[in-house]
Symmetry: C2
């Protein structure tokens, strides 16, 4: 336990330094977290294509291995850096600082940090982000906020993704939102389908509101 | 790193003790791992209802919090123990030993261990199981074996679940199998839909074959 405390205390310091760096450049840094396969990368691709003309977006991709996600983002002409964690299960503030040095995001831009697909460990590690977004897919079941409460407690926004699949799965959106609010009464909620484009206006409004508070 | 090595070395010893205990009782212990929401619990419910008359099955459920999964399993009249890991991201051999003491599974039975929903950390921790089963849903995307190679490399069987959703998602089963075999040429593969019941015969055949080698 004391080893874990040491690791987290060291991480907290580096995260504050990242936070200061982002503030100095008026960069909006968002930490996107979810299970594997909930649609983070697809949401980012769509977001960059839809609003990338108006908002400078760059991306840091976290994965155990492969450059697959970075290649998908690069195809949108967006600046992107891939961090491979090897056997590691999360990004930490030190990895993020290295990624940011390499990416060099411009002032007043939006930095999307796609964490390793994992509903558990990433929630423990502050990266210096302004806000945390947890994405869940309607295929995952409505009980996830109770079963992974640390993640949902630490998130500012929950995105319920893949709403186009609602007719084919047993998923009660209202119950999921109620359970998320039970662990985190402050959490904001958006429903959308990144592949079909439903509900994206709400996400873009949320992003612009966050950016206004940053710049 | 040396702390991680110490933890894993201690875990390896306890896992071997678990393995010996299972062998002494001729118990088939299976470690089921996946992302959150891939359908592990639904597959167990269905399995117990379908073959629980012929095969004595008991279950250890791992989750950060809640008794939800244990309650679902208990509703099938199956013996079950829930382990809550708190902020922990995986089961380890010591937790499993405690769960087994409490569960007291009968000789020549099948013990299903449902790990914490996480494609990363559980793969590092041997529990003393006979075989590892990784379950992925067709909604998660075919690239997961490459992005989480430690999990797929360590698995004996990959179950591709939720095949009933194939008409509604962009998922190439053949490519997913090819990528899984690229990281693990020995991996066996089954496709099924636990909710609709498609492909379950293959799973029950696999279970019976494993059990014949144990008893």
């Amino acid at each position: 336990v004391s080893f874990e405390e040491d690791v987290l205390a060291k991480n907290a310091l580096l995260a504050e330094r990242n936070r200061g760096w982002f503030a100095g450049r008026r960069i909006l840094a968002l930490n996107l977290m979810s299970s594997p396969g909930s649609g983070k990368t697809t949401l980012l691709e769509r977001t960059i294509r839809d609003i990338g003309q108006d908002v400078a977006v760059s991306v840091i991709e976290g994965d155990q291995e492969t450059l697959l996600d970075a290649e998908r983002i690069r195809a949108t002409q967006c600046r992107v850096v891939q961090i491979n964690t090897g056997s590691g299960c999360h990004l930490d503030a030190e990895m993020l600082a290295a990624g940011v040095r390499s990416l060099d995001p411009p002032p007043e831009s939006v930095l999307m940090i796609e964490n390793v697909g994992n509903l558990v460990c990433p929630s423990l590690f502050d990266l210096g982000e302004r806000a945390r977004v947890v994405i869940m897919s309607v295929t995952e079941g409505a009980d996830k906020p109770l079963k992974y409460p640390h993640m949902f407690r630490s998130a500012d926004l929950m995105i319920v993704n893949k709403t186009d699949l609602l007719p084919y799965v047993d998923f009660d959106v209202e119950r999921c939102v109620e359970l998320a609010r039970r662990v985190n009464p402050e959490i904001e909620v958006l429903q959308l389908s990144a592949t079909r484009g439903d509900g994206l206006d709400g996400w873009y409004d949320w992003l612009r509101a966050q950016q206004r508070q940053t710049v």
